[in-house]
Amino acid sequence: MKAAAAALATMVALTACGSAEGSGPELGGSWDEIVEAATAEGAVTLYSNHAPANLEALKAAFEARYPGITLTYVRGTDSDLIPKVEVESRTGNGIADVHMTTDAGWIHRSLDSGDYSVEVVAPAIDQPDYRAADGVLDDTFFVTSATSIGLAWNTTHVPDGLRAPEDLLDPRLTGKVGVVTPAGYPAVVHIYRRMDIDYRAGFVDRLSTLDPRVYTSGPGVTQALASGEVWAAPGASMDVLVERDKGAPVDFALPDNPIGIPFYSHVLSAAPSPNAAQLLADFMITPEGQQALSRSYIAALPGIPGTGVEGSDVVAQDLDLADPDTLEAEAVEQYVAQWEQKFLR
């Protein structure tokens, strides 16, 4: 029974370690105090649905700039991460310090409730280049990056590439198109709705007749394109360019009316490292942070090498957040049900 007693003692210790609550660290008064306190905290955690390669680059850049602080990022879809943010806020057992999302509906519900975020005090927001008036919502959510949704293809199987959304509706691509499920993913619901407006009315219905293969995330579609499991994708994110640069047989093109999706971040009220959270928020919108986070994406600052759309000076602040009224939970659920009837017959 000694073993059992030892095990129980260990478990109690684990419980105690894991559920430590109460007097957490306070946010410093001045920025210098915040930086000092952040170094003492020594760790910061980011929940994000951005491209894994870019998050890894952000980690490397942040830790190089602040050697005393470890950045842990957790990459997941909005449907993975938002419930975690909610549970952490409800239980007070915060794990994430900063959360990045593209879910316009949730961003507005969160702003209304005021439960999840604290004011972001990062000095970088006040730089004129950042255009805070266009990129910050209620002093909490701040735009950190953006992507344009475009056409992607496997260069082995579609050597001539795709130029317009119409090219993707070719019957020879039946069973060879990869799409992302909108279930639990309001930003994707927005993308499908925009396809019917920006590409052509009835585009989504016609797409469904190609018997597309369904994936749970944008990176999943990108990897499926690289493997040849699917040959083309209409709603691909710009992370295809990251994979192309690594040598995968994929390519990407923006149609005439590209659909833009901004990524917004906020510092969480349940953050276990509130000072390091502010420091990370600040770093993400510095030129250094943007070069890492927005590589092959649209940056939140102008003139960042390796970011943006060729031939355009668009920045993330130029892309509108989807209308939150169209992304209420019930409306999303209804759209998903209709979509599943078409795509998962």
């Binding site: 029974m1 073993a3 059992a4 030892a6 095990a7 129980l8 478990m11 109690v12 684990l14 419980t15 370690c17 894991g18 559920s19 609550e21 955690t45 894994p52 980690k59 842990t72 957790v74 990459r75 997941g76 879809t77 449907s79 993975d80 991460l81 938002i82 419930p83 975690k84 909610e86 549970v87 952490e88 239980t91 007070g92 057992n93 794990i95 879910d103 949730w106 082995t156 060879k176 279930a183 639990g184 293969r213 369904v214 994936y215 749970t216 995330s217 990176p219 999943g220 990897q223 690289a226 493997s227 040849g228 499991e229 690594k246 040598g247 995968a248 939970a329 049900a337 599943e340 795509f343």
Partner: protein, 557 residues
């Protein structure tokens, strides 16, 4: 009853009551909380889940997956059990083959099949398309994401469990029966159908019950493969409802209800069918005669199963783990060890291995004494009828109820006061303890029953007290069983996926859940390397168990 006897009984009750209360809190309370929530606000949870347009499809798919995978598992498991009993002597090592798929994590096994049978770049599909009659196909002919293949893969994974039950039953068939059949001129196949199968009926019923429950609660294959084509089962619906925003615990609970009901029915059914378990005392001095005869065909059957269920998916995983990106076009210059190097550098992977091993070991260490206590209560305390019945039911429940239900139940229970354990390793340990209680209890219970009470009586006659008897007689005799149960529990826990997926947090991950996250993010090559890592960790655990418990520790499962 004398006053003294009554006092002794009350003392025993006071010893066992806290154990039953703790088990009841761990096992039953999360289920009650889920059901209470599902029925709140005019059964809002049931209306939400069973008002969905696709619910009939979901129910049909769940039933079809359970039934057809059960059929596959029963046929393969029984044939394999018969075949391993007829292996030529020098092929005896093949006896381990049907058990080995349990050692390979189901997550790894499923992704292995995906790498082989994905309609486009699946390696086997590419080979099949080289055949003249499929040469015009651009994809397929097999679609691993279809319900049919999800059923087949699930059937293979359940085969090992059926095999364990049936082979155990087969070893108890006296060779005299078979000799008599052979003398009467019966062929091997005739003997199998006329003698072996009827005698195996109890093992088959028990194995079928377990496989049916595992099939009904099947989670890994439908989640990893089914989302691609919209294949939904109740277990994956529970996961989706409990991981959407806002979290709909009530609908998740309602989704799991049919599984709970069937689980309870099967557990009760098995109790009724098995009746008084003391009938199965087998230590009587007579030795068992193994099923006689040997056949090279038996070796072929076992080897083919090993190739299909074990070697091929593992080969698929190994190939993908050695390439920079998953592609059907392989060449020698593509091969790289970068994915294995990434296991060290990718955040969270090393931590997930440590968390898996530590939480599994702690849970096993908690389970063994609990299992011993409950087994003792069941076998040695015939006078504590109510406590025995309660202990029997509570420890059997986790076997009948899918792990994902306990996962959701624990997530709900421990994200609310008074005990908020969200994001801690403690909640993983607790759910692991619950999942393993049936194994810890049943294996020690069976060993205690088969020991009978003669050894303890002899010890008592020789003047030893109950504690001395337990330490010097009972525990040493149970040592092989305890080691086997530790090996089995460690294997099952380092693979655990369904419950872990619910109770993990973003930074407290076990190997299976982190692997799933990378699968969802499309990091297939890293997933492959992680699958190999998971298998290696489990293999190391089995190797330690073999060192301590002897080489045949797996066969005792």
């Amino acid at each position: 009853m004398t006053g003294l006897g009554s006092k002794a009984i009350w003392r025993q009750r006071l010893i066992y009551l806290p154990l039953i209360l703790v088990l009841g809190y761990l096992v039953v309370w999360p289920l009650i909380k889920l059901q209470t929530l599902a029925f709140e606000n005019g059964a809002r949870g049931y209306r939400s889940q069973y008002g969905r347009a696709d619910i009939l499809d979901t129910l049909q798919t769940t039933a079809a997956l359970a039934f057809f995978s059960l059929v596959i598992a029963m046929v393969c498991g029984t044939v394999l059990a018969f075949a391993t009993s007829r292996l030529p002597r020098r092929m005896g090592f093949l006896r381990l083959v049907p058990i080995l798929p349990i050692v390979i994590p189901s997550v790894a096994n499923v992704v292995g099949f995906a790498f082989l049978l994905s309609p486009g770049p699946g390696y086997i599909n590419i080979l099949l398309r080289m055949l003249p009659w499929w040469s015009d196909l651009q994809s397929g002919p097999v679609n691993v994401y279809s319900p049919t293949w999800i059923i087949i893969i699930t059937g293979f994974s359940l085969t090992s469990f059926v095999y364990l039950f049936v082979s155990a039953g087969m070893q108890n068939i006296s060779g005299e029966h078979l000799e008599a059949a052979q003398i009467s001129g019966s062929t091997t196949i005739g003997t199998f159908f006329k003698i072996v199968l009827p005698l195996l009926r109890p093992s088959l019923i028990y194995g079928a019950g377990v496989a049916l429950l595992l099939g009904l609660g099947q989670f890994t294959a439908p989640l990893l493969l089914g989302q691609n084509e919209g294949v939904k089962v109740l277990a994956t619906e529970m996961y989706l409802r409990a991981s959407e925003s806002p979290i709909n615990f009530a609908a998740a609970a309602a989704a799991g209800s049919p599984l709970v009901v069937v689980g309870i029915l099967v557990v009760f059914g098995q109790k009724v069918l098995l009746g008084n378990q003391s009938r199965f005392v087998t230590h009587g001095g007579k030795s068992f005669a193994p099923v006689g005869g040997s056949s090279p065909w038996a070796a072929v059957i076992v080897a083919v199963y090993g190739l299909v269920a074990l070697v091929l998916p593992l080969a698929g995983v190994i190939i993908v783990s050695l390439t920079p990106y998953w592609s059907g076009e392989l060449s020698w210059d593509l091969f790289t060890l970068a994915n294995y190097e990434a296991l060290i550098s990718t955040p969270g992977i090393v931590d997930s291995v440590v968390t898996s091993v530590v939480t599994s070991i702690i849970a096993v260490l908690i389970c063994v004494p609990i299992g011993f206590g409950v087994a003792n209560l069941m076998v040695r305390r015939q006078d504590l009828k109510i406590l025995r019945t309660l202990a029997d039911l509570v420890t059997a429940l986790p076997m009948g109820i899918p792990a994902v239900i306990f996962g959701v139940g624990f997530l709900l229970t421990y994200t609310e006061p008074p005990l908020i354990l969200y994001g801690t390793k403690a909640v993983i340990v607790l759910v692991y303890v619950v999942l393993m209680i049936p194994f810890a209890t049943r294996m020690q219970l069976t060993a205690l029953i088969s020991m009978g009470d003669k050894y303890e009586e002899a010890s008592a006659v020789s003047g030893a007290g109950p504690v001395a008897t337990m330490l010097r007689v009972t525990l040493p005799m149970l040592r092989p069983t305890i080691l086997s149960s530790i090996a089995l529990m460690f294997i099952l826990l380092t693979h655990e996926f369904a419950a872990s997926l619910m109770v993990r947090s973003a930074t407290t991950q076990v190997m299976g859940t982190l692997l799933y996250d990378h699968w969802s993010n499309g990091s297939y090559t890293l997933v492959a390397a992680m699958a190999i890592l998971m298998s290696a960790v489990t293999g190391a655990g089995v190797a330690v168990a073999m060192l301590v418990g002897g080489r045949n520790v797996l066969e005792k499962l």
